[in-house]
């Protein structure tokens, strides 16, 4: 029972971190129709900025937690204005190539600025150590990750369903032409959406910084997992990203604990199974 609870809490923490990465990927796809290969690199950038703010300049982890997403979002605005906005009407392969190039550029820039060595960020004292919960020792930081995932998830849900800006973004996603006709500044909305998605990825990087080794290409693994989340949950679906992240978190958390021999293939088996049963993902709508 104890090992079950340990695996459950671990799965939730893993899932919530994945959700923070995958949701931004999904929002960008949902509105801009771009599969952003560079999303993992933006997550990495968030972690490096956190390292810079919290360790190099010694300001504070809590400030970094705000600074990282804002800086990543600002960089995203530049990227969208300079590169991405030119290719929205082109075939999706163009956006794949362009964002892949972007990934390489960000990776090399990070190596150029921060070097190749491995960096770590210590969690703030208030989030260090473990606490006994449901009969097992839980890392406090894991609980913090779960809380942050839920807060961001609820916040985004509220934003998209309850605010004018959120509704405008959804409208632009559903019908660009009609949105333009009713007076929505679609290019501005698109810039905002890309910045929002990138900012959440940067926030994910900041959250991950105290529990992950920060080194070049740290975005590589997470982007593969995020794609799996998005495919399991359904491309472009908000609740799908949440559900997909929980499913993949559980596959990793429970699978690695109870079926360690299969830990390499399990995420892909899970994805294949979902696709066989629900070709559009658990929450995906049929687009045909």
């Amino acid at each position: 029972m104890e090992s079950f609870i340990a695996a459950l809490m671990n799965s939730l923490a893993l899932g919530m971190l994945l959700f923070l990465i995958a949701i931004g990927l999904n929002i960008i796809f949902g509105v801009l129709n771009i599969i952003n290969f560079a999303h993992g690199a933006l997550y990495m950038l968030g972690a490096y900025i956190t390292y810079t703010v919290a360790v190099l300049t010694g300001v504070s982890f809590w400030i970094a937690l705000f600074a990282a997403p804002l800086i990543v979002a600002a960089i995203a605005v530049v990227i969208e204005r300079v590169m991405l906005h030119r290719i929205y009407d082109r075939p999706i392969t163009d956006s794949l190539l362009l964002t892949f190039a972007l990934l390489l550029i960000i990776d090399e820039t990070v190596r150029w600025i921060w070097g190749s060595t491995i960096h770590v960020v210590d969690p703030p004292v208030s989030l260090s150590g473990t606490v006994r919960l449901l009969g097992v020792q839980q890392p406090i930081y894991g609980l913090f990750v779960i809380a942050m995932g839920l807060i961001v998830g609820l916040g985004l849900w509220g934003f998209f369903s309850g605010t004018r800006a959120g509704k405008v973004m959804r409208a632009a996603a559903i019908d660009r032409k009609m949105s333009r006709l009713v007076g929505i500044d679609v290019p501005l909305v698109f810039t905002g959406v890309f910045a929002l998605g990138a900012g959440i990825a940067g926030f994910g990087g900041a959250i991950a910084a105290p529990i992950r080794a920060i080194s070049p290409a740290m975005g590589g693994n997470i982007i593969v997992e995020s794609f799996i989340v998005v495919v399991i949950g359904g491309l472009g679906s908000f609740p799908g990203a949440f559900l997909g992240a929980l499913v993949l978190g559980a596959i990793n958390g429970f699978g690695s604990r109870y079926l360690p021999d299969l830990n390499l293939v399990m995420p892909f088996l899970g994805m294949a199974l979902v696709l066989l049963l629900k070709p559009h993902g658990l929450m995906g709508r049929s687009t045909s």
């Binding site: 991950a208 693994n221 360690p260």
Partner: protein, 407 residues
């Protein structure tokens, strides 16, 4: 096809160059080609190798070069892919015309590259990749290795494990050849030293690049073995150690033995988060060798990079000096002459005197193991006590390597 065209053309150009500047040709640099991971995951290792090789080359050139000729080096990125590394090797040989080759971080890449080395007819010193196959079943007369390999590294681990008195062992290692081979050798060597030793039939092999090791840490903690052998390395080991700290893994009642835990990149990153009192190993420890060359090397490296040299930096530094020794022994840079000069050759390195064993071209070198301890003078954990093995105690006999190039 293109080779047939460029060869005579190249010869004509070289010939023309020689007649034009007969005096300058004495100064023509000796070209070294180096292949390391220079981007993405593992680029730390490429950077260390560059630091080490460049330092050696600068020292040698300041000293007048070799045979009055300066050394020059060209680096290529293996991108952690065997095919890319093979292309890089061909480019270095056929296009850049290098005289000698060095490099390779990953065992997977080495397994792909080693069989192709005879094709390019250029001596190659492997400085990092540790798979036994490179100087074992895939060995050839052009390929040498000056660094500690898996059997040497793991024999040291097995000796430490035997002395710890722990009998039941499990492992957590990366899920590719390195992790699995490390565990196989560990079982074989410890089994020979301690017939009472038992080995878990459910060892953990998380994917290379796993970010959350919690499930695997929990598995070991609930299995409660006497000892756990860890072959995880690099940023994976950094992640593992921090998460294990959080879960109280190191406070448990079992021995922890890390075959590569004393790598400086890991110790630098972890700082005080590296637990004390655990057994860690490395393929070169900068504080383990009391000789002039090591002292000078560590000092010069610290001056340039503000950190002590890693094993990978030493290995690359040492390979450049091996070339120098081979050129001086042969009296020329001709590739066949260098290949034959390296055979059975001894040379001076920070690790002490290194000899390439005739029969498999593997250097007789050995790992250092020690217990992590606090050191008020350093932000890194130190090894105290530390123990550097003798090569003859940890190197498998030639008959076990699967290679015999003739003695």
């Amino acid at each position: 096809m293109s080779i047939r065209i460029t060869k005579p053309l190249g010869a004509a150009l070289v010939g023309a160059g020689m007649t034009l500047s007969a005096t300058a040709s004495a100064q023509e640099p000796i070209q070294i080609g180096a292949i390391y991971i220079l981007s993405g995951v593992g680029s730390t290792y490429g950077e260390f190798a560059q630091n080490g090789a460049n330092l050696a080359i600068d020292e040698i050139n300041e000293d007048g070069g070799v045979l009055d000729r300066p050394l020059e080096i060209t680096f290529e990125d293996s991108q952690l892919e065997a095919q890319t590394a093979i292309q890089a090797m061909r480019k270095l040989v056929y296009q850049d015309g290098v005289d000698v080759l060095m490099g390779l971080d990953s065992s997977g890449v080495a397994t792909g590259v080693v069989p192709v080395v005879p094709e390019v007819e250029t001596p190659f010193i492997i400085t990092h990749a540790a798979t036994p196959d490179a100087t074992g079943k895939l060995c050839n007369q052009w390929t040498y290795r000056n660094s500690v390999n898996i059997p040497q590294n793991i024999k040291g681990a097995a000796i430490m494990a035997e002395e710890s008195g722990a009998n039941s062992w499990t492992t957590v290692g990366p899920d590719y050849a390195f992790g699995h081979q490390s565990w196989e050798y560990f079982q074989r060597y410890l089994g020979e030293l301690n017939p009472d030793a038992t080995f878990s039939d459910e060892p953990s092999f998380p994917a290379f690049g796993t970010e959350d090791f919690t499930p695997f840490i929990n598995t070991v903690m609930s299995a409660q073995p006497d000892g756990v052998f860890l072959s995880i390395w690099g940023s994976d080991l950094v992640n593992f150690t921090r998460q294990a700290n959080d879960l109280g893994f190191f406070d448990e009642d079992f021995e922890v033995l890390m075959s590569l835990g004393a790598a400086t990149e890991v110790l630098s990153a972890l700082g005080e988060q590296m637990p004390t009192g655990i057994t860690v190993g490395t393929r070169y420890w900068y504080g383990a060798y009391d000789n002039e060359m090591n002292k000078a090397f560590v000092e010069a490296y610290r001056e340039r990079h503000e950190t002590p040299p890693s094993y990978n930096a030493q290995n690359a530094y040492s390979a450049v000096y091996a070339y120098k020794a081979a050129i001086e022994k042969a009296g020329e840079v001709d590739k066949v002459a260098i290949r034959d000069a390296l055979k059975g050759m001894s040379y001076q390195a920070p690790m002490g005197e290194v000899r390439f064993r005739e029969g498999d071209n593997q250097a007789l070198v050995a790992p250092t193991y020690g217990t992590t301890a606090e050191d008020p003078d350093s932000e890194l954990r130190m090894l105290d006590p530390q123990r550097t093995f003798a090569a003859e105690d940890v190197t498998p006999p030639l008959s076990e390597t699967g290679c015999n190039l003739g003695g």
